[in-house]
């Protein structure tokens, strides 16, 4: 990750429509060369944030700084917009050829024809659509159209690229190919990028930093590792794939670890917490190991609980196992282990997870 001065900064941004606050961001930064993904459910404010940052939506209050300079509504917006590019979920191509579409941003800037030609050819090649050059944009498939849209965005050599769920309406194979190409081009050109998605795997794959949004706010921003493993609250936890979220009270402490009581069961977690404090424990399903009772030896896990399998659902490569250990617990097992352990609904098993696998959200004294 490249750390340098922020390329884009938002301070105290609020967007209000019809009395509802759509966006409320006290402070937000993106650094040069960074690839930041915005994740959150529909209506979280991702689109609004991207449109506000590109000044397509005028914020009710607050300011946006590009390379330390404040964007003024009247005179610097156009200049600013000409240094960024934006890609939407829909390709939004013009009714002309692929070539002219890719050239459109350059034409708007009044660039010379010969220069436009070279740049467009370069982008067409980069996104593997050179053979579509003279095709009408109306005849393209979804993937080809989105490639054209990306090529159009990159042709202006933006200093920052904003993408609003660019792959959301594509089928999985097309989407995978496109994500791969985008990743390659982003890394190759070292373009600063920010993209909205509701697919956390896409976010994990592309970004150096993840921001989780809901209700117009950024709930947490940090490295993928940090957000995935140390969510700040239950919402972020569930959104980043934590399937077990338990609330309990701290009943014992011993230097660096503590024991919380959940429905009368004791779970050990790593972290600081006061006695009697309410804590929320988040356990990712891939960190839970199942074994057939009563063999509890051979594991360093302190948290071992007997439980009954309530439900098994297939996730394709994995199986999601819902357990009742007096508290609900979810584990992922591979198809192979499912067979080997002959796990079936109703079976008694033993579930274990390490104290370090428990993420703690402190709720304070109650």
């Amino acid at each position: 990750m490249i750390e340098s001065s922020p390329i884009l900064e938002a301070r105290g941004i609020q967007v209000i429509r019809g009395g509802t606050i759509l966006l409320d961001i006290s402070s937000f930064l993106i650094h040069e060369g960074e690839i930041l993904s915005l994740i959150g459910p529909n209506g979280a404010g991702k689109t609004t944030l991207l449109q506000t940052l590109s000044y397509l939506l005028k914020p009710f209050q607050g300011e946006i700084l590009f390379r330390g300079r404040k964007i003024e509504a009247n005179h610097s917006v156009l200049e600013y917009r000409r240094r960024l590019a934006m890609v939407f979920q829909e390709p939004l191509l013009f009714d002309t050829t692929v070539f002219n579409n890719v050239a459109s941003g350059l034409k708007i800037r009044g660039m010379k024809k010969s220069e436009i030609h070279d740049r467009v050819i370069e982008q067409l090649d980069r996104f593997g659509i050179s053979h579509l050059k003279d095709r009408s944009a109306k005849t393209l498939s979804g993937g080809e159209a989105q490639r054209t849209s990306l090529a159009r965005a990159f042709s202006i050599q933006p200093e920052i690229l904003l993408l609003d769920e660019p792959f959301a309406s594509l089928d999985p194979p097309t989407r995978d190919a496109l994500v791969e190409d985008l990743e390659r081009v982003l890394r190759g050109t070292r373009t600063t990028a920010m993209f909205a998605t509701h697919d956390r795997l896409e976010a994990l794959r592309l970004s150096s930093r993840i921001a989780v949004m809901d209700g117009g706010r950024i709930l947490q921003a940090g490295s993928p590792e940090e957000v995935m493993n140390h969510p700040v609250d239950e919402f972020v936890a569930s959104f980043v794939g934590v399937e077990t979220i338990l609330s309990g009270k701290v009943i014992r402490q011993n230097g660096g670890t503590f024991i919380a009581s959940i429905e009368g069961h004791e779970i050990e977690a790593v972290g600081e917490a006061h006695l009697g404090e309410t804590v929320v424990l988040c356990i990712r399903p891939e960190n839970v190991t199942l074994s057939i009772r009563p063999s509890q030896e051979g594991t360093s896990a302190r948290n071992v609980f007997p439980g009954r399998i309530m439900k098994i659902t297939s996730l394709g490569l994995y199986q999601r196992v819902h357990l009742d250990c007096a508290f609900p617990l979810v584990a992922y097992v591979t198809n192979h282990s499912l067979k080997e352990l002959s796990l079936t609904e109703g079976k008694e098993v033993s579930a274990s997870f390490k104290a370090t696998a428990v993420n703690v959200i402190r709720k304070g004294e109650s």
Binding site: Q51, S54, L56, L78, R81, R82, L84, A85, M86, F88, E90, L92, F94, D95, T96, S104, G105, I108, R109, R135, S136, A137, K138, T139, R152, I156, L162
Partner: protein, 232 residues
Amino acid sequence: MDLILEGIKKAFWLLITFDPEVMGITLLSLWVSGIATLISLFFGISIGVAVALSRFTGKKIVVSLINTGMALPPVVVGLFVSNFLWRNGPLGFFGILYTPTAMIIAQTVIATPIVMGITLAAIQQLPQKLRLQILALGATRLQMVWILIKEAKLPLLAAVMAGFGGVISEVGASIMVGGNIKGYSRVLTTATVMETSRGNFDIAIALGIILLLLAYFINLILTQIQQRTRPR
């Protein structure tokens, strides 16, 4: 049946002999309606785009007024334009009543809402986000409007056809403000009305056929342009 056959024969004759009176009438029709359409394109497209792109209270009322205007009865337009241009009317001092200029004014009033209404619909029918995309590509407001007009070129060509078709075929306003003066303000439609009322069905039919052919060829040319610009 004889009447129609006679009419067709006569029309054919008038056409191949380039009958000066018929030619004069045809050219004046083309001139008046052509100019009126051009003027209406200017006003219709600019106002139509402006209304489509702006947000203001009462927009719905304005839009429904424009849509009503698309069905403006030519006779009513004729009545109002006559009133304005009447010797004692507010614009009477121009002294242009019963001239081709007055006809151009009346036809412009008829065609403008047609062009405006179609433009409005054409622009509104473009995806909302297209505007954002164009701005995000670094376009000025003017560049954005120009790109949007280009994007809506097919329905806008339909607007040209509808506007021209509306005025070349109207008779009420032309007769009221033009006066159907022989060799001066007589156009195809007014001449057809007159010949029919006189019982000269053959000439009337001839004029009618010329009018039809004219409308057909103009639309054929515009359709050619439309089809050519359509993506391959």
